[in-house]
C-alpha cells in the first residue's frame, strides 16, 4: 500500500489544516484575553506572532541559545514588547474614541512591522524543528513532528489558561474586570494591573504560536497582518471572548483554508478565512458559540 488513495490527500490536508488552525486559535485566544479585560481589539495581535518567530531566530542563530531556551526567551521578549505597548500606548489612550483606538493599535502594528523589517530585513527565516526526526506516516499522509508540537503548544496554552481563569485569583480577577470594571475596582482589584497582565499574556501566547509555526512555514516581517486578520476571524467565529469557541473556530478555519487550498485554488486560500470572517460579521456577529443577547450588550 503506497498511499495513493484519495484518503491520503484528505488526511494530509486535515493535518496541515489542524496545524495552521492551532495557530489561528492561539491568535484568537490572544484577542479574547485583551478583549475580555478591556473591550479593545488589538489590531497588532498578528505582529506578536511574527515577532515571536523572529526573536527566536535571533536568540538561536545570533546568540546561540539552545532551541528550548530560545523558545522561552522569545516569548519573554515579546511579552516585554506587549508590556511596553500597554504602558506607553494603551494607557495614554484610555479616553480615546473607538475610532482612535482602532487607529492606535493599527499604528502599533505598522511600527512593529517596520521595526521587524529594520531588524531582520525582508527575507523569510527558518527555525529548526523542536525535535528532529522524520515525518510520521499516517495512512500515507506525512505529518511533520513539528506539527504535533504546534498542537501540543496549543493544548498546553488552552489548558493552562482555563486553569488560570477559573481557578486562580488573578485569572478570576481578570474576568471580573471585563464584566464590570467599576465593581472590580471597588472590591480592590487593580484594573490597570489586570489590563497590563492581559497584554503580556496575550502577546506571549502569540509569540509561542509564532515560534511553533516558524519551523514549518517560515516567518518574515510582513506576515503579521494576515495572521492577525485570520485570527480575528477565528475569534469572531467562535464568539468574541469565548476561549473554547476560539479554539474550535481556529481549527475549523484552518481546516477550511487547507481544504480550499488543496481542492480548489491555492491562490485564494487566504480569502477563505476572510470570506468566513465577513459572513460571520454580517450574519451572526455573536459567532457560532456566542449568544445574541451578549453580543447586543457589547459596547460597540
Amino acid at each position: 500500500m503506497d498511499g495513493t488513495w484519495l484518503g491520503t490527500d484528505l488526511l494530509q490536508y486535515t493535518a496541515s489544516g489542524l496545524t495552521v488552525g492551532a495557530i489561528y486559535a492561539l491568535v484568537a485566544i490572544g484577542y479574547n484575553i485583551i478583549y475580555n479585560v478591556t473591550e479593545i481589539i488589538n489590531f497588532a495581535q498578528g505582529e506578536f506572532v511574527m515577532l515571536g518567530g523572529l526573536f527566536a531566530v535571533f536568540f538561536l542563530e545570533t546568540l546561540r541559545f539552545p532551541i528550548l531556551a530560545a523558545f522561552f526567551a522569545a516569548i519573554i521578549s515579546v511579552g516585554a514588547v506587549g508590556f511596553a505597548m500597554e504602558r506607553f500606548v494603551i494607557q495614554r489612550a484610555r479616553n480615546a474614541s473607538v475610532l482612535s483606538l482602532i487607529i492606535i493599535t493599527i499604528a502599533v502594528s505598522i511600527l512593529l512591522k517596520g521595526s521587524a523589517m529594520l531588524g531582520w530585513g525582508k527575507d523569510p527565516y527558518s527555525l529548526p524543528a523542536f525535535t528532529s526526526g522524520s515525518p510520521i506516516l499516517v495512512g500515507g499522509a506525512a505529518i511533520q513532528l513539528q506539527a504535533l508540537w504546534v498542537l501540543a503548544v496549543g493544548a498546553v496554552v488552552v489548558i493552562s489558561l482555563s486553569f488560570f481563569f477559573h481557578r486562580s485569583l488573578y485569572g478570576k480577577a481578570m474576568l471580573a474586570c471585563a464584566d464590570n470594571p467599576s465593581a472590580a475596582r471597588m472590591v480592590g482589584i487593580r484594573v490597570r494591573q489586570m489590563v497590563l497582565l492581559s497584554f503580556i499574556l496575550s502577546t506571549a501566547i502569540g509569540a509561542a504560536a509564532g515560534v511553533a509555526i516558524t519551523p514549518i512555514s517560515l516567518m518574515e516581517y510582513d506576515r503579521g497582518a494576515l495572521l492577525g486578520l485570520k485570527g480575528f476571524g477565528a475569534a469572531v467565529l467562535g464568539g468574541l471572548g469565548n476561549f473554547y469557541g476560539a479554539l474550535a473556530a481556529g481549527l475549523l478555519l484552518g481546516l477550511a483554508e487547507s481544504f480550499c487550498a488543496g481542492y480548489l485554488s491555492s491562490g485564494y486560500k487566504d480569502a477563505v478565512a476572510l470570506i468566513l470572517l465577513l459572513l460571520v460579521l454580517f450574519f451572526k456577529p455573536e459567532g457560532l458559540f456566542g449568544s445574541a443577547e451578549a453580543a447586543k450588550l457589547k459596547r460597540f
Partner: protein
C-alpha cells in the same frame, strides 16, 4: 457655504492656479507639480472618506479597494477592450457603487471594531482578487500599455495639463461635498455621528444614509482610481493593498476628520511626506509612518485642522449609553 469656507475656496483656486508657475522655474522643486497630481488624486479619495469618517462617523479600511476597482475597470476596458476612457470611468464608478452597496448594507449594521474589521477584510479580499485574476489584471507583474486621457481629441500629456484636470475635479467634488454638508443631508450625517439613536427617532433613516455615504466614498475613490490609471498607465495590485487603505485613513486623520479642508490638507501633506521628505529615512520609512500615525492618534486625534479651529469640533463618538430602564 459658510463665509469662511467660501473665502478659503477662492484662495484655494488662486493657489492651484499659481502654484505650477511658481514652482516650475525652480529646478529643485519643479517635480512638485507631479506630486500635486498624485496629491489631487488621493485628495479625491480623502474627500469621500472624510464625509464617511469625519461626518457620518463610520470607519472604512477599504478605500484602496474601491480605488483599485475604479483603476482596474478603467485599465481593463481601455487597454483590453479599446473603450473610450471617458466611458470606462463611469462604468468603474458604477461598479464600485454596486460593490459598495452590496457590502455596505450588511457591513454598516456593524459598529466600531466590527465595522473596521469588516471593511479591512473586504479590502484584503479585493486585493487578493487583483493578484489572482491574472488574465484580467496582469496579476502581480502588473498591467501595462494603458492609454492616456484626451478631451475632444486633445491628448492630456503634460504634467501641467494633468494637474489642472485633477484639481479641477477636486474642486468640483469639494463643492458638491460642501453642498451636502450644509444641508438636510449633512445635518442628518452629523446627527448620525453624534447621537445615532436620537437621529433615528427624529425620522432619519440612519442605515440608508450610512450606505449612501459609503457608496459616495466608493465612487469618489473609483473616479480617483480611473484618473490614476490613465496618468500612470501602469497598474499593479501593490498600489491597492491594506497599507494604502490605512494611508488614506491617515491622510484624513492627520488633516482633520471633521473638515473637508483637513482631508485635502492631509492628502497633500502625506503625499509630499511620503514621496519626498521620508525618502531620507529610506528603510525607516515604515517605522516613521507608524510613528506619525501613532502620535497623531494619541495626541492630535482631531487632526492638524483643529489647530486652526476657533470653536471645538464635535466630541469623539461617545460610548453608547446603556439602555435606560424606566
Amino acid at each position: 457655504m459658510k463665509k469662511a469656507d467660501r473665502l478659503i475656496f477662492i484662495a484655494l483656486i488662486c493657489f492651484i492656479a499659481i502654484f505650477p508657475w511658481v514652482v516650475q522655474n525652480i529646478s529643485a522643486i519643479s517635480h512638485y507639480v507631479e506630486l500635486m497630481v498624485f496629491a489631487g488624486i488621493f485628495g479625491l479619495v480623502c474627500l469621500g472618506l472624510s464625509l464617511l469618517m469625519g461626518y457620518a462617523g463610520q470607519i472604512s479600511l477599504a478605500q484602496a479597494a474601491f480605488f483599485g476597482i475604479g483603476a482596474y475597470s478603467s485599465g481593463i476596458l481601455t487597454a483590453h477592450f479599446g473603450w473610450n476612457p471617458w466611458l470606462a470611468m463611469p462604468v468603474g464608478a458604477l461598479l464600485a457603487a454596486a460593490v459598495a452597496w452590496m457590502v455596505g448594507i450588511p457591513a454598516l449594521r456593524l459598529k466600531g471594531h466590527y465595522l473596521a474589521m469588516a471593511t479591512l477584510g473586504f479590502g484584503v479580499i479585493v486585493h487578493i482578487v487583483f493578484n489572482e485574476e491574472v488574465d484580467w489584471t496582469g496579476g502581480p507583474s502588473g498591467m501595462v500599455d494603458i492609454p492616456g486621457l484626451s478631451i475632444a481629441g486633445w491628448k492630456i500629456s503634460s504634467e501641467l495639463q494633468w494637474y489642472y484636470l485633477v484639481w479641477g475635479a477636486v474642486l468640483l467634488v469639494l463643492l458638491f461635498s460642501f453642498h451636502i454638508l450644509h444641508s438636510r443631508v449633512g445635518r442628518a450625517l452629523r446627527a448620525i455621528h453624534e447621537e445615532e439613536v436620537a437621529a433615528e427617532a427624529m425620522g432619519v433613516p440612519t442605515s440608508r444614509y450610512k450606505v449612501q455615504i459609503f457608496i459616495f466614498g466608493a465612487v469618489t475613490a473609483a473616479v480617483a482610481g480611473s484618473f490614476y490609471t490613465h496618468y500612470v498607465t501602469f497598474l499593479s495590485p501593490s498600489s491597492f493593498n491594506l497599507m494604502w487603505s490605512i494611508r488614506f485613513v491617515l491622510m484624513v486623520m492627520v488633516g482633520g476628520m471633521q473638515s473637508l479642508w483637513g482631508a485635502l490638507l492631509g492628502a497633500v501633506l502625506l503625499t509630499f511626506v511620503g514621496n519626498e521628505w521620508l525618502q531620507v529615512f529610506a528603510d525607516f520609512e515604515v517605522v516613521v509612518y507608524g510613528g506619525i500615525l501613532l502620535i497623531v492618534a494619541l495626541f492630535l486625534p482631531q487632526g492638524l485642522i483643529s489647530l486652526f479651529r476657533r470653536e471645538p469640533a464635535a466630541p469623539p463618538n461617545p460610548i453608547s449609553h446603556a439602555s435606560d430602564e424606566g
